[in-house]
């Protein structure tokens, strides 16, 4: 069980030991937008057009769009950060059957990871007074990514499952791009 001391302990430990040089967190938003745009381009670049034969296996994952629409700007930013983490995790799995462009994939992952690290530092700095968000939409977000993860596992990471997941992640990033323009 978490108590207040544990909370501040995380904050202090991770704050003092972060290896990232200090950033102006206010302007991270601009960088975030660039990362999203860049990531979308790289997603397109790494593979070809969606193969027709995979249309049969298409699944509806139902991304919980309400997670990007809460009242506070901060909660949206934290949600976006978590989404980046999940996407990064998914694209680290067994990709041999996907047969995508290695260079584009590397750049995609590298870009996501850099943003994750920088965001983490800024979010932690601010969150020493932050209360844990028990919003149901964040749980729906995790359910969504669990669905994608299970889908890939069930299909044994075959080409079609990867292409479907890639299309799904693309849709996800496009939603984020739209939301970020309004922020």
């Amino acid at each position: 069980t978490m108590n207040a001391f544990g909370l501040t302990q995380i904050g202090l430990i991770l704050l003092c030991t972060t290896t990232i040089s200090s950033l102006q967190c206010n302007h991270l938003h601009l960088q975030q937008q660039k990362v999203v745009k860049n990531s979308l381009q790289l997603l397109d670049k790494m593979g070809k057009k969606f193969p027709q034969q995979c249309l049969r296996e298409k699944m509806s994952f139902r991304f919980p769009e309400q997670v990007l629409k809460p009242r506070q700007k901060e909660t949206v930013k934290v949600a976006i950060e978590e989404i980046f983490q999940h996407i990064f995790d998914i694209f680290s799995k067994n990709l041999t059957l996907a047969a995508w462009d290695e260079k584009a994939l590397e750049q995609f992952q590298n870009g996501l990871y850099r943003q994750i690290e920088q965001l983490e530092a800024c979010v932690i700095k601010k969150q020493t007074h932050y209360f844990r968000s028990k919003e149901p939409s964040r749980l729906k977000l995790r359910k969504y990514f669990q669905k994608v993860d299970c889908f890939l596992q069930d299909k044994q990471h075959n080409m079609c499952s990867w292409e479907i997941s890639r299309a799904e992640m693309r849709r996800c990033l496009q939603l984020i791009d739209k939301v970020m323009r309004k922020l």
Binding site: L14, H27, Q85, N110, Y113, R114, R132, K134, L139
Partner: protein, 538 residues
Amino acid sequence: GQTTLKTPWDIQVYVVNTNFTLRWNYTGNDSNVAFSAEYRWSEDFETVETEWNELPGCQNVTGTECDFSSAVTEYYDMHHVRVRAERRKEVSPWSDIFEMIPYFIAQIGPPGIELQSTNGIIKIKVSPPEANAVRKMWIAHLRFKYNLVLWENSSNAEFRSLSIFPTHVIDDLAPDTTYCMKVQATLPLDFKEGLFSPVRCIKTTRKVNDLLCATNVSILASNMKFHLHWNNPYKQHVSYNVQYLIGYLKKLHDDYSPKWLNVHGCENITVTQCNFSSIITTTGFYYLRVQAMSESNRSCLSNEVKVNPLITNEIGPPGIKVDISDVLLHIQISPPGGSESEVMRDHYDLSYRILYWKNSSNNEEDIKMKEVKQTIATISDLTPSTLYCVKVQAFSQIYNKSSDYSKEECIQTPGDKILPLIILATFVTALIVVLLVATLLVFALYQAYNKIKYVFFPSCHPPLNIEGFAGQPFIRPYLSTTEEPTEICSIIETVLTEVNHIDFKDYKHSKQSSRDSGNYSNDDDTSGSKASEEKEIV
């Protein structure tokens, strides 16, 4: 009478990864008392309307805790649990309902830890919690951030705490010393700190200081041109290989040692520097290291250096050109970077800070500043006849970076005295020109007027005696038409004395006979008319 069984109280659920333990308190006669639990869950958080089910693993339990891990499969749904005591046929009332969403109360289990001690350093390899589990609470294990706590195995040891990647090397340790450590996995965004792994201790070996290794590896980067520099403490011939690693690979649990790549153009070199701009993109981090190779095929790897391109890079000074027109100073800024200027402009969102001052005074307070976003700026409100000096600096607010100042460019503002003179001279010249033109125009008009007047309205009149001849006044002496008959007049002297003596008829007769008498005749084209005319004239 019959005493009802006491209800269990203080229901708690303890979750580590996917292991669910139900605990409760029971005060009362606990001889032959067994406990059973029920549960229900639903996706909807507001109401849980489903039926209560028996909780597997928590039926007829004699202790005050039970494991019900097999029952829970939906870690994001709301679950309700309740317990009651049972003794033979007696049952206690149901306890208070314990509400939970498994994900929120779950704790992160301990990660695995492997240690290796070589050459005075300790290499740590962390394996994530639930590494080989079939069912996972933490589906994205790459979200974990690992926290290492390290201390020397001696009294009064200081605890060192640091955030590490799954594969980590600690190299600032004392040789031949035993160190102990433990690792925990954390999820910063979820405010979760996991359980620590068991403590592991290891002894460091002696460190062999290989002079072959490159030392003082550092980076100099300007205008997106990246150079690696190092020192060679080895006195003999060494060749170097510069290698790089794409940053995110360290976040993965896979061994990234085979993923180091050679920097093109810095393979088997003998100089102690390398231009590695070719491998840099602005998307993410990179790590660089230098591999030194001696002639005897011995090699040594230097320390790693982390490169965050846009942060490591320094912005170079911009170029500046000044131009003056009256009291306006025009500044043209050429952005830093040359060929790389577009990349820098894109990512840094560059602005420029212009400093300008009068060179005559040496006061610092007279330095004025102007910030612009474009590469062209204009400064007004200058005093005339003064030498102004300007210099420019490029800066990025986003990255909190600024370049050095450009060279100073000085220029003189034109004088005040000259200007009014110029204006006056221009005015006078214009006036003269206008007057001249006006005069010419008037003169030309006057001449034209005269000519027209002479042609159409002549001032000279014909003499009185020929006025009214043939009823035709001479109005157009110069204009003649072919239709009008020309008249040749010849004046014939009249013999007045002959008129008295001549009869009217005779007169006519005499006129007819003598052609020399005072008749004037019209020389007409037709003789017929001539004859008639002679008759008519009296």
